[in-house]
Subunit: 72 residues, 2 copies
Amino acid sequence: MGKDAISNQLRNLRFHHNEMTQQQLADKAGVTRQTIVAIEKGNYSPSLELAFRIARVFGKSIEEVFQYEDKQ
Amino acid sequence: MGKDAISNQLRNLRFHHNEMTQQQLADKAGVTRQTIVAIEKGNYSPSLELAFRIARVFGKSIEEVFQYEDKQ
DNA sequence: ATTACATGTCAAGTTTAATTTACATAAAAT
DNA sequence: ATTTTATGTAAATTAAACTTGACATGTAAT
């Protein structure tokens, strides 16, 4: 799909949740650590399913974890 | 990723929005009609970016358009 | 000094999302 | 009757997400 339009709060949320590591988040979300790194750094955006699982780890809505800004 | 864990309200929302056709939704979301059909029928779930764009078409949150239920 | 941990990166591979083109059917319009 | 519109399907291809395995760096323990 499109480009780099999706940002996220992963780093903030990890640190606000007991200093959760990337590996711990990966385990809880059911993906590899590299996937978390790529998403956190904005290399690509997750599938909708993974977005749901990550949001659920933090007890947040998808919109609280991921923000979409389209090309103005 | 996983399987058929994501359901959606596309058909309902289309009809509640002036009988919007699949083609019209596809145009507004910037994808092809076949992509809308596949998502609406649950053949696969959209990318997070497309989920944002579809939700925006209806003025809804992602959670109001798509529901995630994991394997119990 | 060296072990351990958290993070970042890279290349190669698999899986899934999305496109393109095309064909089929049913319903509505003319 | 036949044209148009909306929907469903399918095969082949491209693009993107995700995995696996491996290596590098900085920082915190010990």
